[in-house]
Symmetry: C2
Subunit: 236 residues, 2 copies
């Protein structure tokens, strides 16, 4: 146990030394953690919450955000209503434009619906296949009874433009604002405001729902850029 404490202390001391040169917030948080760990072997403040988004994820030009959703991956949609954050799992999404504009389908049967309609904001987080089990479990329980961030050990991170949190463990996150709600069909129309990608993540393959309990992981990549050249928006 003593070895563990010493190791942790050394590690955080090193991180502290590195970050203290360029990031005051991180510096102070790491310092607190370092001292607390030395005494208790536990993190006093969730470590990742001390990080700025830009330290964890790289910003993707918003005009490229549609490339994250166009393949049709399973996504986690986060909302925040006052102090309460929630996550729902969705597969029924659609790209609508390169602006970028998206649509997804959900209704009052989802606990997130109320926060979504009230705040008009959400984050579409895209998990990789190492999170597939968690994503399905998140979809199988309700935010009415469960703090899903806590239960599934996911880390909420402050977004840049919306109140809903990013999910640190996901491959990518898109901050979105609801611009229309077609109640007749339960369709939400959203504009992407900011997009983040964790390019250092080892596992980047996303996964797709079949709808019968099976999921398909991303396989090999096929390049048809030459054929599509005339159809691609310049920013891509």
């Amino acid at each position: 146990m003593m070895v563990s404490r010493v190791t942790s202390f050394s590690f955080f001391a090193l991180v502290f030394a590195i970050f203290s040169f360029n990031d005051n917030i991180t510096c102070i948080s790491v310092l607190i953690n370092t001292l607390v760990i030395a005494a208790t072997d536990r993190l006093a403040v969730p470590f990742t919450a001390c990080y700025r988004i830009s330290n964890m994820m790289k910003k993707l030009p918003i005009q490229k955000a549609f490339t994250l959703l166009e393949p049709g991956p399973v996504v986690l949609v986060t909302t925040a209503d006052g102090g309460k954050q929630n996550i729902m799992t969705l597969s029924w999404t659609m790209v609508m434009d390169f602006t970028p504009r998206f649509a997804f389908m959900t209704g009052p049967w989802n606990h997130s619906y109320k926060a979504l309609t009230y705040t008009g904001e959400c984050v579409i987080a895209i998990p990789a296949i190492d999170l597939s089990k968690k994503a399905v479990q998140i979809g199988a329980c309700s935010g009415a009874k469960t703090d899903k961030f806590k239960k599934f050990k996911l880390t909420p991170m402050e977004a840049e433009k919306v109140s809903a949190p990013l999910i640190k463990e996901c491959y990518a996150n898109i901050e979105c604002r609801v611009i229309d709600h077609i109640k007749k069909h339960n369709i939400f129309i959203l504009d992407g405001l900011a997009a983040w990608v964790d390019k250092n993540r080892a596992e980047k393959r996303c996964f797709h729902a079949v709808g019968d309990g099976h999921f398909i992981a991303d396989g090999k990549v096929i390049n048809h850029c030459r054929i599509m050249l005339s159809k691609l928006p310049k920013v891509v």
Copy 2:
């Protein structure tokens, strides 16, 4: 050349003998082809057009049709306006219900738009990755100037419930009727009427557009049926 004629004749004579016991239409068509081939080495009637759909593809219960679209594959949407058939490539689709109800996004910039709004019918055909190049090429040219079935050597097959054709070479086909058109967002809402799957097809892996000219083939299948059990509709 003579060997080729004798081989073709023998083959069709054999097929004729097999089918003559249980399918009069196929029997007559094959007989015609057999006789014509013996004389000219060419098919007088496109062979596949003589087949009933049920000989080529198995019907999928319509409540399961959403499982074909939920993974978010690239699709080919066919329309028929009078005698003129067309195909467009789409990736911007969304499942909306298990009924099954779907949405896709297209507008007047696509040649198929006119036929789609006029007839209110289409077929959503799902190609496997062996057709990925053709699918991208279909999306890169206009039906205004091109007979896409002819140019890309695809075979239209008569659908059961709509005027738009199925595509024989695709892994699956869903016959659809437009039930709403949200012009403000260029969204078409469709009900699936009949679904067909070619289970004998060797290549069944579909593919997903990234939107930048790259496409992702289906990879390994992950089974989370146990977790999703309570959420799955009974028919699935």
